[in-house]
């Protein structure tokens, strides 16, 4: 019994739709990266590992404390927010005022620390993680879409809206923006700049926790599950223009679609999917050096 080969148009649509769905996974972690970058111009290499750790906390709450998923989900976000603030206060704070590059190395150290600790506590065996979405795919005339990835996309939009509302309409959000843009003046008008950074880390960790809990059902959970995703999330965030949450979402979806198409339609693209994909991203950046949604920095002399 042979299965019928897919017709080319359906195959193309399938790759694009599948790419969008996969891209949502990159986008949601990219949002967390954007939050920290906005707060302190820092690319946080440990973002994925922090999300991984949050997800493991959720996993333990579900499997050993036997809490319901719907209790664990908000609880993990809260714990992660506190954890993010704590990480900033304990590990990042002593380095305040040092060049960003030193902080980048600090996040690399944090990466090792978190990954090693998770490995020691939970081991490396892959674990299933529950999803709030049904696992049955949707079938649109032969084009299949996984519902849990669509769910990630939906959650992405919700997070995006929340970030937007927070920075636009809340006092704290405005203060955070001010602290990031004009630290000295903000200090003068009574904004506690240092705490705003901690808040930024807390928010990023919370968004990271959402990302982890959304991605783990798809990739399953182990201490390394976020690493490859972080790389693409980084590419997505930069492509979108590192400071823009909308850019992160669009960047993530573009990266997903790009990789799917490159792997499918470029001769030799399967093996070099990653390389070709990155070449395209860099090419786009050459045309728009501040990313798709970034604003070119104005240099002051």
């Amino acid at each position: 019994m042979y299965l019928a080969a897919t017709d080319p148009v359906t195959a193309l649509v399938q790759q694009v739709v599948g790419g969008i769905a996969s891209g949502a996974v990159y986008a949601i972690l990219a949002l967390a990266l954007v939050l920290i970058y906005r707060a302190m111009d820092l690319a946080n290499f440990a973002q994925g590992e922090m999300a991984m750790f949050s997800t493991f906390i959720a996993y333990s709450l579900i499997t050993t404390v036997h809490l319901s998923y719907w209790v664990v989900f908000p609880l993990t976000i809260l714990i992660s927010f506190a954890g993010g603030v704590l990480v900033e206060r304990v590990i990042i704070r002593p380095f305040e005022g040092n060049p960003v590059i030193t902080l980048v190395i600090v996040t690399l150290a944090l990466f090792n620390l978190v990954n090693g600790t998770a490995g020691a506590v939970w081991g490396y065996i892959q674990k299933p993680f529950p999803s709030p979405f049904p696992s049955r795919p949707l079938d649109f005339a032969g084009v299949f879409v996984s519902v849990d990835k669509l769910g990630v996309l939906a959650v992405c939009l919700v997070v995006l809206a929340a970030i937007f509302a927070f920075f636009r309409y809340t006092k704290v959000g405005l203060a955070m923006r001010a602290a990031a843009l004009y630290p000295e003046s903000s200090q003068l008008v009574g904004v506690r700049v240092s705490w705003m950074l901690a808040l930024g880390w807390g928010l990023a960790a919370a968004v990271g926790a959402v990302a982890g809990m959304m991605i783990a059902p798809i990739t399953f959970l182990d201490p390394n599950f976020m690493q490859p995703i972080l790389l693409f999330a980084f590419a997505a965030a930069v492509l979108g223009g590192i400071e823009s949450p909308v850019g992160a979402l669009v960047g993530g979806v573009l990266v997903g679609v790009l990789l799917a198409l490159v792997g499918t339609y470029i001769p030799g693209g399967q093996n070099l999917r990653l390389a070709f994909g990155l070449v395209v991203i860099v090419a786009v950046l050459l045309l728009r050096p501040a990313g798709l949604f970034g604003r070119a920095a104005v240099t002051r002399v």
Binding site: I101, T102, I105, N112, G119, L231, V282, L285
Partner: protein
């Protein structure tokens, strides 16, 4: 010799001491440590390359491991396919990689900061797929074994000692080259670009020329280091040049001291000995109690501790110590502890 005259006496003394230490190490340490220190020299060279790019001209690179891959594979392929003597491949590897870096410098011109980081990051990530994809030429993931390097018979050195003197000899040459580059007008142009591109342009420094030049020089150093890494390990495969290598280089340089001439030397020690001691600590046992055998936990902790004490690198700490000492001696206390990290020649 005229160049020597310009050097302050403490530097000359340090150089003399350094030479004594370098010659002494293989005499007083065992075979294994001699080999470890040979590896240190390899990373010192790679870090000098990264220092020129990131430390002096201010262009961040997460991709210098990829330059090392070009150098390493140039050497391995020349030895493996064309039977070129391995020593002769080192300068070729440097030049080939330098050219590669020069070409990469063009697209990099338009990018800076995190956007440049992504471009170099792309380079690092592409190493493994590209090498695997062209496996009929590169031997792919199987890698290329090279014959272990033996010392010329006349020198009567063990393999490890030979590797040690070879890599440190080359490191010394490269150090002098990098020293002279930094002291030259080229070096001053790099630093001008680092400190303010606008100001540099205003004073007539050609951004495109010097930025691509920085990439080329950096790649040349990395290529030599990659060639030596291939020779020292007597083997290349794509995993040797993963993203992790590029990140390790950045860690080494920042911990050693970004923008300090001796930063790469400390950094080389860090790259080799940080994992070594992390593992030693991870396997310590106190009778019945043993630490979790997880080197990465201690790697992270050690790294945080070092950075905590020396946030502008170990060289920064040393320079601050000097400043403090000088300050005490001249009883000018206000100069003792500068609030901002001291960047050499900034």
């Amino acid at each position: 010799m005229s160049r020597l005259k310009g050097l302050p006496i403490p530097v000359l003394i340090a150089a003399g001491l350094g030479a004594v230490v370098l010659f002494g190490i293989p005499l007083v340490t065992d075979t294994f440590f001699t080999f470890l220190f040979a590896n240190v020299a390899v990373y010192v060279i790679a870090l000098m390359g990264l220092n020129i790019l990131t430390g002096y001209s201010g262009q961040i690179s997460l991709g210098n491991g990829a330059f090392m891959a070009v150098g390493g594979y140039t050497t391995a392929l020349l030895v493996h396919r064309l039977h070129v003597p391995y020593l002769a491949t080192i300068p070729i590897a440097g030049l080939v990689t330098g050219l590669f870096g020069f070409l990469f410098g063009f697209p990099a011109l338009r990018l800076s900061g995190i956007y440049l980081a992504l471009a170099t990051f792309a380079l690092a990530l592409s190493v493994t797929p590209v090498i695997n994809n062209f496996d009929t030429f590169t031997e792919g993931h199987t890698g290329i074994n090279m014959k272990p390097a033996h010392a010329p018979a006349i020198l009567q050195l063990s393999d490890e000692q030979w590797l040690y003197f070879l890599s440190w000899g080359i490191a010394a040459v490269m150090f002098i080259i990098s020293w002279n580059i930094v002291r030259s007008s080229t070096g001053r142009a790099f630093m001008a670009i680092r400190d303010s591109e606008t100001a540099a342009t205003a004073s007539g420094v050609s951004l495109s020329y010097y930025k691509t030049l920085a990439f080329a020089i950096s790649a040349l150093f990395s290529g030599v280091a990659g060639a030596l890494l291939a020779i020292v390990a007597a083997y290349v495969n794509p995993d040797n040049f993963s993203l992790q290598l590029s990140l390790n280089l950045l860690v080494g340089l920042v911990v050693g001291g970004l923008g300090f001439r001796f930063g790469p030397v400390i950094g080389g020690l860090v790259v080799v000995f940080l994992p070594y001691y992390s593992e030693k600590i991870a396997t310590i046992q106190f009778s019945s109690f043993s630490l979790p055998a997880k080197p990465d936990i201690f790697n992270g902790i050690l790294l945080l501790l070092i950075l905590f004490f020396a946030p502008s690198g170990v060289m920064g700490l040393i320079m601050r110590g000097f400043a403090l000492y000088n300050g005490r001696r001249t009883a000018v206390r206000s100069r003792a502890a500068p609030a901002e990290p001291v960047l050499e020649e900034k």
